[in-house]
Symmetry: C2
Subunit: 484 residues, 2 copies
């Protein structure tokens, strides 16, 4: 009634709302994923006009959702921190209880229900620093480390700190890889910052090509004020792992062009390819004797733990001027603090049981078993894609994804264009409706125009992934046949 | 070495960094709190030149840090969700286990380590809607509800959605109360939005005065494009509880001025004053037959649970156009999801044990005991302040704070000005150094120029609060004596 009498005229419409939000796209959670959810509901409701009986969600790096088991140690620590009566329960190992008591002694009122410092609980920041120091063999200062709700929040904070789009004559420019994890373009769009898109070199295992970085930068220099470069290593969506030589070139380029380095290193535990290794930007920069401003991001959502829902993460931001570091910390304070249980998850990753501790053997075997399974699945995915006509894939050297190229028939491309959608979206939509497999089209991450890709995770359990690969192969051949 | 050779020239300095971040202030975690931390460390290290032996942190609504006990039910649910082997433990009540099984059935792979939908786990959003419907006696649509990392994140999302400062000819204006919870000014500064400051009516128990709202709006109309009004009820820092008449006036004002209402209702369980009651803006709007865009914020950090560190919260955003609701949900997707254990905390608050459930009696007695204790402390605080010469306080009708006015001697004001600090900061700093009591000066929240206040929480345990009140009284009298 009140609506009819005109009392609900809206303040917010598509013209008055934040225009930057309209530009945001986040393909990993885009329309195909929404459609996948609908299909799941249809199947659950008994509607069964599909030639499959379940959706395989290979669209998102959501480890536990596809059957990966949590690490016992992490879950025991969180349970005891939350319900402290469990500290008297003999079933929990001594090292779990010791960690819990230590962590609680750093919480206000010994409760995980208290706020921490905005930058995180001191002892956990110290543990992160020790972990980094041991990883790189060079010192790390715990006061350079802030704890965040996953790495996503760290990305937003770092980009917000460097963003002077609203007061400068030009928007702040940030070099980002194409293909990229769409959190970057989405956040840059929200903040009215300018993405300077550089293409990764598909013919060279998705490495960064310095000439291409220069081309991208020169191309956009007049449009923005370039301030930073984002590198995702190991790569998302590419599954690449950069070698040290490539990292050195990138650092020298950043130095020459006066760029902050934002190193998204959340997959640092996920390296599978023979001969490949994770090299942190911090360590390589140290070897070069260069001291650029560098933010390195880490998360407890990936690696061998896969605790996405617990939202643990950290950011080590080094070589900041002291006054800028103070501003960064002040910026964090307005969100009070990130989840204490997320912080504790991160602690278990950076300060795991040591040899001799009661939880050590189980922790190690659970960790290795997950990493070995991922390694086998990485191999399976790349080999399958390379065995399919009209498809080719770089090795899945690391991270949790394959990003094969697909050669689409002209007829399919035309039908997609006529329907007003990207050809790889058309392909992925068909795949979903025909097989229940949910992947993300390459256009959601960016690709060289005229090429088509998709991203799939390698997370489904081995037998499930094998089934998925078979179904995908059959679909692909039928698709080629249909549109030949 | 490399520093000396000039290889560490910085990209970020005070001119090139985000200028909006420089303007942010967040007094609740400002310099006095940092000083309090230093004093604590000094005391711990055995340095004992202070006439007290511990700091009382009355600066922040951090319930558990000041001794409030967590609710057993909440902690049991989280522990069992995290370590599911506890579902076989006979010590956990049946209703705890049933809730855990229900919640896990809505988690990917039955694990709290999986991502949820960006808007939150469906069953928890449904429980929030049922809670709101029962509270207000009118329907609530679960799809209008999004789960957030505390209410702080909801504030940031809502303000970001309505912010068109970067593309409009004028910045987006938001009416905010003075005194206010500084999250609002900090976020508006970060987003380059314009705060339209209206004074709360101290002489009328901190209610909103419509003439004052009009004055503030008319004053700033040429400087910005006004879009929303923030109301904090029960009030932070004021401890006020608005009556229904006042809320009606505000809604009519918002309707007339075409403003979105942002109702910060995180203290809805915290009402102490005889005859006072919480009225949601949604319910009162319904009674008036008006349908404005309204965002209501709720948190699991306050109320009787006080689980600040677990970061649970929700936002019910009603009467949005469908296309704007879609944009709002899209905006959430770039942070993937908020903490699953935070979501579960919120679930325990909105869907607590029912009469007859095994956990009901304990839950109810723990809840009532906390609320009764807060009620007694609210009374103690206001009565003490009103018994001190040169100090006066409105009743602490709700929330967790008192915000007394202090009449500072001219000599103290002069000494503060000479030192380049606000007089109430000068007072609060002296109080901290002399007594160890950490409060927040009124200037951190805003106040009518020439008046001075401070905010103290009423959270310290009763005997502790009594001691604190005595110390404060003694300090105040000495301060008056010293500067008379």
């Amino acid at each position: 009634m009140s609506t009819q009498s005109g009392e609900s005229s809206h303040v917010l419409d598509l013209d008055s709302v934040n225009q930057n939000v309209k530009k945001m796209e986040y393909a990993v959670r885009g329309p195909l994923v929404i459609r996948a959810g609908e299909i799941e509901k249809e199947l659950k409701a008994g509607k069964n006009d599909k030639p499959f009986n379940g959706v395989i969600r290979a669209n998102i790096g959501d480890c536990h959702a596809t059957g990966q088991k949590p690490l016992t140690f992490i879950r025991q620590v969180i349970a005891c921190c939350t319900d402290t009566t469990l500290l008297d329960d003999p079933k929990y190992p001594k090292d779990v209880k010791e960690k819990v008591k230590l962590l609680l002694s750093y919480c206000g009122g010994n409760s995980v229900g208290s706020y921490s410092d905005s930058a995180g609980i001191e002892i956990i920041r110290r543990h992160c620093a020790e972990y980094i120091a041991e990883r790189d063999g060079i010192p790390s200062n715990w006061q350079d480390i802030v704890l965040t709700n996953g790495a996503s929040e760290a990305v937003k904070f770092v980009l917000a700190l460097i963003n002077s789009s609203s007061t400068d004559d030009k928007p702040t420019g940030v070099l980002i890889p194409i293909p990229q994890y769409p959190l970057y373009t989405a956040t840059l769009a929200e903040y009215a910052m300018h993405p300077i898109k550089y293409y990764l070199d598909e013919g060279n295992e998705w490495k960064l090509n310095i000439a291409e970085l220069k081309r991208a930068l020169d191309n956009d220099r007049s449009l923005c004020r370039p301030k930073a470069i984002v590198i995702i290593n190991p790569g998302n969506p590419t599954g690449s792992v950069l070698n040290k030589e490539n990292i050195k070139e990138i650092i020298n380029f950043a130095k020459e062009e006066k760029l902050i380095i934002i190193a998204d290193e959340v997959y640092q535990h996920n390296v599978y390819k023979e001969g490949a290794a994770f090299h942190s930007f911090k360590k390589v920069m140290h070897e070069l004797g260069i001291n650029l401003e560098l933010a390195s991001l880490m998360s407890s959502s990936k690696g061998f733990m896969g605790e996405c829902g617990l939202r643990g993460g950290y950011c080590e931001f080094i070589n900041l001027k002291p006054e800028i570091k103070a501003l960064f910390l002040k910026m964090l304070s307005a969100r009070l603090c990130c989840s204490i249980l997320g912080q504790i998850t991160m602690d278990c990753v950076v300060a795991p049981p040591k040899p001799g501790d009661p939880s050590y053997d189980l922790f190690t075997s659970e960790k290795n078993s997950t990493l070995e399974s991922l390694k086998a699945k990485a191999k399976l995915a790349a080999e399958t894609f390379n065995s399919i006509p009209g498809m080719k894939s770089n090795p899945v050297a690391g991270a949790m994804y394959a990003f094969p190229q697909i050669m689409l028939p002209e007829k399919a491309i035309k039908e997609a264009r006529d329907a007003g959608v990207e050809p790889d979206f058309f392909y992925a939509k068909n795949l979903l409706e025909t097989t229940g497999i949910c992947i993300v089209p390459g256009s959601g991450f960016g690709q060289i125009p005229g090429t088509y890709h998709f991203r799939t995770t390698i997370l489904p359990q081995f037998e499930e992934l094998k089934k998925m690969m078979d179904r995908l192969k059959t679909f692909h051949l039928q698709f080629l046949e249909k549109y030949k």
